[in-house]
């Protein structure tokens, strides 16, 4: 475990020493504060729009952080050749994969905490009630969803050689699942064969990350899924993450690395 934690620590240090996170946080804060200062038609429920905008920005920013951070881990190790002194130590390729995943996931968790703290403060200014439990559930579900995204991106980083290609493909895939994932079965019904079977296969194979999106409930102050449902969603995310990481390891362990 020492090795995995050490590798994760390097990933976290890399994240907070780069500018990406600060830029995204600054933009999110700027847009949210700008939205907060505007008062359209003396609408007393303007806070709903502010919450909507802020949560959308948090989702988008953390997705960008997760995908960009995970996409460059293995390729940059190879490109900067830091993988060689690392693998010359008693470190297995499986430990590299798990260490990189854990580092990215913890770094994203750290970023999420900062974003949500800002969200709590911003909404607390305009709302009489603090829905802390709901916000915690939302953050937890989003963090579990990010685990799937990070594992998917790590798998992509072994398949695609260019970081930009992998990041773009993963971003499109994730946004595609978020928007279309839950509708694929309805789309399949209207198709003829073999498109119907293919669409159904995709529907049953893809990780349904849209299940982790509870922004609407937060914005409209509706009840969120209970703890049992959140737990089941976490198990679902963990299973997909494990399967994707296993695939990543299968591909990476056979890769020949020449100095």
């Amino acid at each position: 475990m020492n090795t995995i934690w050490a590798l994760a620590g390097v990933v976290i240090k890399e994240l907070y020493r780069r500018k990406d996170f600060y830029v995204l946080f600054f933009l999110t804060a700027l847009v949210t504060l700008a939205a907060l200062s505007v008062n359209f038609f003396n609408d007393t429920k303007i806070i709903r729009y502010v919450k909507d905008v802020c949560l959308l920005l948090i989702w988008f920013s953390t997705l960008i952080i997760a995908i960009v951070t995970a996409a460059r881990q293995i390729p940059s190790e190879k490109e900067n050749r830091t993988i060689f002194p690392l693998l010359a130590k008693p470190v297995s390729r499986g430990q590299v994969i798990i260490g990189k995943f854990l580092g990215c996931w913890l770094a994203c968790g750290l970023a999420l905490v900062i974003f949500y703290l800002f969200f709590v403060v911003v909404t607390g200014i305009r709302e009489p009630q603090w829905h802390l439990v709901a916000y915690l559930k939302s953050m937890g579900l989003q963090w579990m969803m990010l685990a799937i995204v990070i594992a998917l991106t790590l798998l992509g980083s072994i398949v695609f050689s260019a970081v930009s290609a992998n990041a773009t493909i993963c971003l499109i895939a994730v946004i595609g699942i978020l928007f279309l994932g839950e509708h694929l079965n309805k789309i399949a019904l209207k198709q003829g064969e073999p498109v119907q079977s293919i669409t159904y296969a995709i529907y049953f194979c893809i990780p349904h990350i849209e299940l982790f999106d509870v922004r609407n409930q937060i914005v409209n102050n509706q009840p969120l899924p209970g703890l049992v449902d959140c737990g089941l969603a976490s198990v679902y995310a963990a299973a997909y993450t494990a399967a994707l990481l296993y695939g990543t390891w299968l591909l990476f362990r056979r890769k020949s690395l020449s100095t």
């Binding site: 475990m1 020492n2 090795t3 934690w5 050490a6 620590g9 390097v10 240090k13 890399e14 020493r17 780069r18 900067n80 050749r81 830091t82 993988i83 060689f84 002194p85 690392l86 693998l87 010359a88 130590k89 008693p90 470190v91 297995s92 430990q95 020949s256 690395l257 020449s258 100095t259």
Partner: protein, 299 residues
């Protein structure tokens, strides 16, 4: 310089007297390694002295999409490096030196044959528990400071916090980076980065050092220092396996050498024996004879 050398002696003296204390699962792994080495040694008594061994090692690189033909980088290499010796691994560019090192370090799997470190197959990560590797060029996380980088590698080897503190302090002193230890590596000169490389190779107090052209790109002072370090490691009973194109350097520090050409081991033995066998003045002439160099007349 003198102070740094004495620090180095202290470091090696301390290291030579007892094995690196480890904790947790790494201790278990090391115990398993030792037990496994003893088990292997009982079955093959001559293995005890061979720290590094390759048997009929063959490596083929498959061509790309256009050329499907395989390029044979190593043709059945048999090599043995014994405990406590400094072994020079020589050959012209493309001879297969780097491929051999890549196999030994687990970067490239052998096509056939075997490679072992301390009697353990190199495909097992634990085979690398007792080695230090210095690559030809510096490849480190440039956003970390030298101290953070050494701490990271110390964690990888399972060193305790207090021991890594002690080891890092001594190594930073040894490579004379005390003034820059808390600066990111990206701000270092090439020479400073090489010195960080040397420090990381020694962080686990290795029994075997694998050095890939360690003096390449260094100024004369830097070369001298690396040579002194190799000599001191030898005096402390460490085994050093290194590749180099500097024949004078190899002649000075090596007990034995092996010359590789076109993926085949052409010759192996003591420098003095090889020079006497070929009836030439120095190792460079032996090398040129083996690789078939014919001097051309200058018009």
């Amino acid at each position: 310089m003198l102070a740094a050398n004495s620090q180095f002696l202290v470091l090696l003296g301390e290291a030579g007297s007892r094995p690196t204390p480890l904790r947790g699962e790494v201790t278990v792994d090391l115990t398993r390694t030792i037990r496994y080495s003893q088990h292997v040694a009982r079955r093959n008594p001559d293995l005890m002295s061979a720290i590094l061994r390759t048997k009929k090692l063959r490596v083929e690189y498959v061509g790309g999409e256009v050329s499907k033909t395989a390029k044979v980088a190593l043709h059945g290499l048999d090599l043995e490096v014994r405990a406590g010796e400094v072994f020079g691994f020589l050959g012209p560019n493309g001879a297969g030196k780097t491929t051999t090192m890549n196999v030994l370090l687990g970067f490239v799997p052998p096509t056939s044959g075997s490679a072992e470190l301390f009697g353990i197959d190199v495909r097992q990560p634990i085979a690398r528990q007792r080695i230090g590797y210095l690559p030809e060029l510096t490849y480190y996380y440039k956003f970390l400071t030298a101290e953070e980088l050494l701490r990271f590698y110390a964690k990888v080897f399972g060193l305790t916090r207090s021991e890594s503190d002690q080891r890092i302090e001594k190594l930073i002193g040894l490579v004379e980076l005390g003034h820059a230890a808390k600066r990111p590596i990206k701000t270092y000169s090439k020479g400073m980065q090489q010195r960080v490389g040397l420090a990381q190779a020694l962080i686990n107090n290795p029994d075997l050092l694998i050095l890939d052209e360690p003096t390449s790109g260094l100024d004369p002072l830097g070369r001298m220092k690396v040579r002194e370090i190799i000599q001191r490691l030898k005096n402390e009973g460490k085994t050093v396996f290194f590749s180099s194109h500097e024949m004078g350097e190899v002649e000075t520090v090596c007990d034995r050498v092996a010359i590789l050409h076109q993926g085949e081991l052409k010759i192996e033995g003591r420098v003095s024996e090889l020079v006497a066998k070929y009836g030439v003045a120095n190792l460079e002439q032996v090398f040129l004879r083996i690789v078939g160099y014919q001097p051309q007349e200058v018009v």
